[in-house]
């Protein structure tokens, strides 16, 4: 019965056809392989180009005065004038990043704990996880607009604290994600052992679970710091930037990304050189944090 349909279904019976089909399949396979290698090479080329540009142009603009001086107007046409630096921006970035991490980390830690230890599978827990995930990828400039309406408008002006709060909101979902993931990796027998000894649940979490998940939690915090260290858009609408060193949280405050943004768009070669130096500092910091975070978590796999 089936002998009538088989020859039509399998042209393979004809050796010439089979050979050409095989060649075609092999060629398609090779084509795809080269495409994939090319795509990966292209992605690595982009990374190399970005890093190389940063290093070449950044080192050109980098000078020890970059770390010791505040912003100076362009020296263009006046070689006697002092070149500026990024001290105000570095200090501003450190202050805002530190406050944002200090505010955002405990909240993120508690939310992650809630998701992993209390809310497993509950409706509210799923809602919180979903919202946190959305916030993780939400446009950061909208967080700037939010803090502008909430803090800058009532205070009557841009301020360092507004910038720090905007960054804190960005920290939360990053810490939530890693904390929850790490706590969920812990074996339940560990929890049962601690509770079986008579410890209340909160002691089980704070004294045992946190300690066991510590590398992961630290990774989350490092990644969060790396993320906000390079954030520009929300700061533009909250701490705005400042050309002099200011540690007053109630007034506008500079930060490295903002200083880079302003000087890169100034059009003056000497200011652009300083912007490149700043870009090198920021990127080096961010990448080092990322690599350290990766190594911190590696022993746990």
């Amino acid at each position: 019965m089936s002998t009538t349909t088989l020859p039509a279904l399998s042209p393979v019976k004809d050796p010439a056809v089979a050979a050409s089909l095989g060649r075609r399949r092999k060629r398609l396979d090779a084509l795809l392989r080269w495409f994939c290698i090319g795509a990966t090479a292209l992605a690595l080329l982009f990374l190399a180009s970005i890093l190389l540009t940063l290093i070449l142009r950044g080192l050109e603009g980098l000078h020890w005065t970059t770390f010791t001086r505040e912003f100076q107007p362009t020296t263009y046409g006046d070689p006697e004038a002092p070149t500026g630096g990024l001290l105000h921006a570095i200090i501003g970035s450190l202050i805002q990043t530190a406050i944002a991490t200090a505010v955002g980390t405990p909240i993120g830690l508690l939310v992650g704990t809630y998701l992993a230890e209390y809310a497993r599978g509950s409706l509210l827990g799923n809602a919180v996880r979903f919202v946190s995930d959305v916030l993780l990828s939400a446009p950061s400039i909208l967080i700037g607009l939010f803090i502008y309406q909430l803090v800058v408008l009532p205070m009557g002006g841009f301020s360092g604290i507004a910038g720090a709060l905007a960054l804190a909101i960005i920290v939360i979902p990053v810490v939530v994600r890693t904390t929850e993931d790490m706590l969920q990796l812990l074996p339940n027998t560990l929890r049962e052992a601690v509770v079986g000894l008579g410890a209340p649940k909160w002691k089980m979490i704070t004294l045992v679970a946190y300690r066991a998940a510590l590398p992961g939690i630290v990774t989350g915090i490092l990644l969060a710091v790396a993320r906000i260290a390079g954030e520009t858009a929300p700061l533009l609408l909250t701490s705005f930037g400042n050309s002099v060193l200011s540690t007053d949280l109630a007034r506008s405050m500079s930060s490295l990304p903002i200083a880079i943004y302003q000087q890169a768009n100034s059009g003056f070669p000497d200011l652009i050189a300083i912007a490149w130096a700043g870009a090198l500092i920021v990127t080096a910091g961010v990448l080092v944090l990322n690599i350290v975070a990766r190594f911190a978590v590696r022993p746990r796999g």
Partner: protein
């Protein structure tokens, strides 16, 4: 013995108090996150209300952007158009590349190469947006200006009917095309990482069966891996789209920030995020312009929320099992 029996109840009560407090803190923090999202939406909407009132639904399709006092006129069409077109173009470029990277990392690369290349791709995702902006402006834009735009304009520009898409009077190099290119590079690692993770979750038995039948690598990918991971792959693409829609600094550097409707890929344009970044810090507190920018922010939030929500739902089904 009796001492322990006496101590036990009081100890348990103390533990209960700590438990209730800690559980309350955790729950409170969770609810805070929910409230945060609600507050962001509400704040942007309330801030944009004066603009919605002044221009009505016409705000959505007006191309006006005129801050002249007394005759202020603002519309959202140009930024919305720029946002959507640049993000979609970026996806078109990034998805094939990301697929290539993911396929390379899961199937083609020798094991010793997987970790370093994978880490390098992840570092691409860690580079701050503003660095992409500077690199785009000082490295990519001149390349586009000197080589890509002229070549494409001379060849594809001659095609009847659609040629105008490639021919532009603007030769600055800062354009919709440059923005899409930078966005594509930025979202590539996110899409590639998702694809790599879900490709890795395909049970080895399925692939081995197909290889055993004599399938080539491409045939295994096409007929086994992709059908198995389809939902998550689309989720990863939506994640990239969500990122591209809201990207601010990189786009602001390279898109040219011109508030008129582009007719060509090489025309300068603007996006919601970049017009907010450019104009909001300079706008007067409480002005109609500020309100219009907040209204734009509200629209962006709605668009990206929908895209990111779809992405999460698609990814959850596979990743969390």
């Amino acid at each position: 013995m009796s001492h322990a029996a006496l101590a036990a109840p009081s100890r348990r009560r103390a533990g209960d108090g700590g438990d209730r407090l800690f559980a309350g803190l955790c729950l409170g923090a969770g609810i805070l996150v929910l409230l945060l999202l609600g507050a962001i939406i509400l704040t942007l909407f309330i801030g944009g209300l004066p603009a919605f009132r002044a221009f009505g639904a016409g705000f959505l399709w007006s191309t006006a952007w005129s801050p002249v006092e007394g005759r202020e006129q603002y519309g959202a069409l140009v930024p919305i158009f720029g946002t959507v077109v640049s993000a979609v173009l970026a996806i078109l470029v990034a998805v094939p590349l990301a697929f290539g990277v993911a396929f390379f990392l899961t199937e083609l690369a020798p094991p010793w190469l997987r970790r370093p290349v994978g880490t390098a791709i992840e570092l691409l995702a860690a580079i701050p947006s503003i660095i992409y902006g500077m690199w785009g402006l000082f490295v990519l834009v001149p390349l586009v200006q000197q080589y890509i735009q002229l070549t494409i304009g001379d060849t594809l520009g001659a095609i009847p009917l659609v040629g105008f898409l490639f021919a532009s009077n603007s030769f600055a190099g800062t354009s919709l095309f440059s923005a899409a290119l930078v966005l594509a590079i930025m979202i590539l690692p996110f899409i590639a990482a998702t694809m790599r993770d879900v490709f890795g979750q395909v049970p080895a038995v399925y692939k081995e069966s197909a290889y055993g039948l004599g399938c080539t690598r491409w045939e295994v990918m096409r007929n086994v891996v992709l059908p198995y991971t389809r939902v998550s792959v689309v989720g990863g693409i939506m994640l990239g789209l969500g990122r591209a829609l809201g990207e601010t600094m990189a786009v602001t550097f390279v898109i040219g920030n011109a508030n008129r409707l582009p007719t060509s890929l090489f025309d300068p344009s603007t996006t919601i995020a970049s017009i907010v970044a450019m104009e909001f810090p300079e706008s007067l507190m409480g002005s109609l312009k500020q309100s219009s920018l907040l209204a734009l922010g509200f629209l962006l939030f709605v668009i990206s929320f929908i895209v990111l929500a779809i992405s999460r739902l698609l990814l959850r089904s596979r990743l969390k099992g």
